[in-house]
């Protein structure tokens, strides 16, 4: 057994954090330290741990757990996102005080599952890690005090999740039957033509369904707007960002053998095209900001497919970079949503009216986030989209690139209405709580805006890491 604990420091650290949170959640009421105080600090230490082991490589546990550029890249991103989401959740108004430790416990578990997911290279382990990250979220979504919508959202998430994972498991059995292995490295060497291995192709398609569910790709997207709307703003921030990273990393690994022209690749391209178009068109009609962002993430899931179907290292890197860009933009948008709705209510578009006057910094951050989500320069959204298009052009799916470009045109309207309400409408509705303009809120919005802008100006260094990770998959 070639087990070396030094290789999996981020996972171990997260696991210790989980144990500590478990202890905190069973500790008696008076003595416990308030979790929202120390968890962000621990999460920051987790980022350091992830950064420290960013160059770890190795194959552990009989070859099911691989540490390579891709996994370490995603672990760093997951750790950073976990830090931001814990900070964001530290002022959650709709969470009972005595449930805080439990809440963080489940978030940490889910993030841990995603970290494991980014390293697993064997389909059963992928499935287990996926379940680990999903199960903890099922609980968290319903944790919104005195809100029946949250319970409904939780039920929906469980039901869809159960169906999707059942499909994935069913598909897994077909893959095993068809190709006689579940190791991705060995699957890569097999033929994935429909003519050669129809059973395996059907199985893999079903298995991918599990990932599509996490990513909210059509036709597994139905839960997404409902869950975003029903659950609290802070939980939605988590659900909208971290699980997507886990799904993308697995899809990137599997796409290594989904070369252009295969039936299954074409299916992916079609699902991507339908997903982006449907997501954008549905978002046009929304008034609830979180619901709109939910449909927007359906559309963005479609965009990621553009990189995946290209079958090149650049395409994988572009997809990974876009996942990062997407997460950065959404963290920014949800941060603003959480801060503006300082009493934890659901934010309507009208609630943003006159935000430029009530909280200029938050309004600016909202504008940066919205323009980034459209894909306007000079933001990371534009660079991500440019990389996707450049990587995918001339690899057999040019029509998909055109669909992506045209979709940006659909998307402008609803993202622009975020800016329009924040900047040009003056009459704010009466009787709503004022936005949170504390230093905490403004610094967070500022830092996230700077990240979105700086990655748009100088994407080079981060992209280098992504390319190195993408190349690593093709050895």
């Amino acid at each position: 057994m070639n087990f070396n604990p030094a290789l999996i420091v981020p996972e171990l650290f997260q696991f210790i954090l989980i144990l500590a949170l478990f202890a905190a959640s069973v500790a008696s009421g008076e003595k416990r330290v308030r979790a929202e105080r120390w968890v962000p600090i621990a999460a920051a230490a987790g980022v350091v741990a992830a950064l420290a082991s960013h160059s770890a490589t190795g194959l552990l546990f009989s070859g099911v757990y691989k540490l390579d550029g891709m996994s370490q890249f995603f672990k760093v991103v997951i750790a950073v996102c976990f830090l931001v989401t814990t900070l964001n959740a530290s002022r959650q108004p709709t969470l009972d005080k005595d449930r805080r430790a439990d809440y963080y416990l489940f978030l940490a578990l889910s993030a841990w599952g995603l970290m494991l997911l980014s390293s697993t290279v064997e389909l059963f382990s992928v499935y287990l890690a996926l379940e680990l990250s999903s199960y903890s979220l099922y609980t968290v979504i319903a944790l919104r005090s005195k809100d029946k919508g949250a319970a409904e959202a939780g039920i929906k998430y469980i039901l869809f999740g159960a169906v999707a994972t059942a499909l994935a498991l069913f598909g897994l059995s077909y893959v095993l039957a068809g190709q006689h292995t579940t190791y991705i490295a060995e699957l890569t060497t097999k033929s994935w033509h429909w003519a050669d291995a129809p059973v395996a192709v059907v199985g893999l398609t079903l298995f991918l369904g599990g990932m599509f569910y996490k990513l909210a790709l059509f036709p597994f997207h139905f839960w997404c707007p409902d869950v975003y709307q029903g659950t609290s703003n802070e939980t939605a921030t988590f659900v909208a960002t971290l699980p997507k990273l886990g799904a993308v990393v697995v899809l990137v690994r599997l796409s290594a053998f989904l070369t252009p022209g295969l039936e299954i690749t074409t299916v992916l391209a079609w699902l991507g095209a339908i997903s982006m178009t449907l997501g954008n068109l549905c978002a046009l009609a929304q008034r609830d900001v979180k619901r709109m962002l939910g449909f927007s993430s359906v559309a963005h899931a479609g965009y990621v497919m553009v990189g995946l179907v290209s079958g090149t290292a650049e395409g994988m890197a572009a997809a990974a970079f876009y996942a990062l860009a997407y997460v950065a933009m959404n963290l920014l948008a949800f941060w603003v949503v959480s801060r503006v709705a300082s009493d934890g209510r659901n934010l309507e578009l009208d609630d943003l009216n006159g935000l430029y006057r009530r909280a200029p910094a938050l309004a600016f951050a909202m504008a940066v986030g919205a323009f980034a989500l459209v894909g306007l320069p000079p933001t990371v959204g534009f660079m991500g989209k440019l990389f996707l298009i450049t990587a995918a052009w001339n690899h057999g799916y040019n029509w998909l690139v055109v669909v992506l470009a045209v979709n940006s045109a659909f998307a402008i309207y609803y993202y622009l209405s975020l800016v329009r309400h924040a900047y040009t409408e003056d009459a704010a509705p009466e009787g709503r709580s004022a936005p949170d303009t504390s230093v905490f809120s403004l610094v967070g919005a500022g830092v996230l805006s700077v990240i979105v802008l700086v990655l748009g100006f100088v994407p080079g260094p981060v992209f280098d890491v992504a390319v190195a990770a993408g190349r690593g998959l093709f050895h």
């Binding site: 306007l376 309207y413 900047y423």
Partner: protein, 507 residues
């Protein structure tokens, strides 16, 4: 040419720095003055550009690597096609600040920040020599312009601003795809490098159409023009001036910079269509302008017509036509910019853009009517004014091309005389309603109108300097076009599996 500082970069960076600095300034009067000073310093910074050599080379080149993995470069330069547009931008911006000195009262600081960001983005569009960099500036410019219309506009500003944004962004989505296609087929994003390459005919046609859609919406050409009257009418005076003087030029600049050099065969193939659409723009713009009761709308529709002359000149592919197009671009900026400033001036007095509410100004505002008359004459190309130089060149080019096209332009030119006279006569000699109490132009208004007025005469009477600037580049453009339009690699597959896509050849 060596200067102590990178001239073009400083022109882009300085307004952004000034915009940041403006955030710290308190007090409305100070904000205006600081912006004004910043824009004057901007012109001073641009003085090295006067050392421009009258040849066809790209000058003041700055080239740095930006994102090496994808071959993106920070590449700026000017040539005869762009340098006039850079100067036009530099001189229009201070006028835009001056003409909104009293008209804008709310959120003053943000307004001027938008103007400064606008300056940087416009200079960037005209100097970028990397396709992606161009696209970045091209899109980035939408945001401040959107805000100018949406926040400081008239009653219908939300509708107009969203229409403007949707139209222009929708048009440019496919431009991005074309840019990427050029990268994959040509191996570089650099415009000068791509200009030396030849692409397959089908590829050229598709790219031409994708680019032409973006540029035609921006110009705007006839079927895509509907955003323009809405945006012009609702925008504040400064917004209209920038829109008319600078933004519309970006469309025609795009045709000259991208469509002709990169896709010559397709440009030739689609030229009849473009000529037909241009002539339609001229006639349609003129006829619709004739029927307007709103002065601003009238000038907006006249823009459609005048920009039709520009696109027509470009797609005639002869020396006179293209020179005329470039002149017309400059002239339209000067004249229509002036007209929109005048409309802003009179609006501050009458609070109406209706012709009927602005009658009989000849007696009470003689100086105003003098400038209005001057710009009107220039607008329909009266000899001795700058409008004449541009129009006559396009006319010569058109008759060179074919008698039919030339003959169709005649009613277009007549129409512009008719609608400018119609509104001018009413404003000068109509029965005044409330104009009796209005004061004539103040010193500030004299200042911002005198500049364009001088240019009207200067270009009109002594266009030699401008010819020297543009002729070498136009010659080169057309010579390149002539040699390359036939040389299409028809046999080669259009979508070659370029190694660029896999990234193996990079670095």
């Amino acid at each position: 040419m060596d200067f102590a500082y990178p001239v073009l970069s400083s022109l882009i960076v300085f307004p952004l720095v000034a915009a940041l600095g403006l955030l710290l300034v308190r007090g409305d009067a100070l904000v205006r003055k600081v912006t004004m000073v910043a824009l004057i310093i901007e012109i001073v910074l641009a003085l090295p550009l006067t050392a421009y050599h009258f040849n066809a080379d790209f000058q003041f080149v700055e080239r740095l690597s930006w994102v090496p993995q994808w071959g993106l470069e920070y590449h700026l330069a000017v040539d005869g096609i762009s340098i006039l547009m850079v100067w036009l931008t530099l001189f229009t911006m201070p006028l835009a600040v001056l003409c909104s000195w009293t008209g804008i009262s709310k959120r003053l600081k943000e307004f001027h920040v938008c103007l400064l960001i606008m300056t940087a983005a416009c200079i960037g569009v005209f100097t970028a020599m990397d396709l992606v960099l161009f696209y970045v500036f091209w899109e980035a410019m939408l945001i401040p312009m959107y805000l100018l219309i949406a926040v400081w506009g008239g009653d219908d500003r939300r509708y107009a601003s969203i229409k403007f944004f949707l139209y222009t962004l929708t048009g440019s989505t496919l431009l991005l795809v074309a840019i990427v296609a050029f990268r994959i087929a040509g191996g570089t994003f650099s415009i000068p490098d791509l200009m030396t390459q030849t692409f397959g005919f089908r590829f050229q046609c598709l790219c031409f159409l994708a680019m032409a859609l973006a540029f035609a919406i921006k110009v705007p050409m006839f079927p895509f023009h509907t955003w323009l009257p809405a945006a012009h009418v609702q925008a504040p005076a400064a917004g209209s001036v920038i829109l008319a003087a600078i933004l519309l030029k970006m469309g025609t600049y795009g045709f000259l910079r991208f469509c002709l050099p990169l896709t010559p065969a397709a440009a030739e193939y689609f030229a009849p269509m473009m000529i037909a659409v241009s002539v339609a723009s001229i006639l349609y713009g003129g006829v619709v302008a004739l029927g307007q009761t709103d002065i601003k709308k009238l000038v907006a529709y006249s823009s459609v017509g005048h920009m039709g002359f520009v696109t027509l000149g470009i797609f005639l592919f002869n020396q006179r036509g293209v020179e005329g197009a470039l002149f017309q671009m400059l002239n339209h900026g000067v004249i229509t910019g002036g007209l929109f400033m005048m409309i802003g001036t009179v609006y501050e007095r009458s609070h109406s853009r209706d012709i009927q509410k602005n009658l009989g100004l000849g007696k009470y505002m003689p100086a105003f009517m003098f400038f209005w008359g001057l710009f009107s004459l220039a607008s329909f190309g009266f000899p001795g004014t700058n409008g004449f130089v541009g129009e006559i060149l396009v006319f010569v080019g058109a008759f060179n091309h074919s008698l039919l096209v030339g003959a169709l332009l005649v009613p277009g030119a007549l129409l512009s005389a008719a609608y400018m006279f119609r509104v001018g006569l009413k404003m000068a000699w109509g029965q005044p309603s409330s104009a009796k109490s209005w004061s004539d132009l103040c010193l500030r208004e004299w200042l911002f109108l005198a500049g364009p007025a001088v240019m009207v005469f200067y270009i009109g009477l002594a266009p030699g300097l401008f010819f020297q600037m543009i002729t070498p580049s136009v010659d080169k453009l057309l010579a390149d076009y002539d040699t390359r339009r036939g040389a299409v690699v028809d046999a080669a597959p259009v979508q070659t599996p370029a190694p660029a896509a896999t990234g193996t050849e990079k670095n």
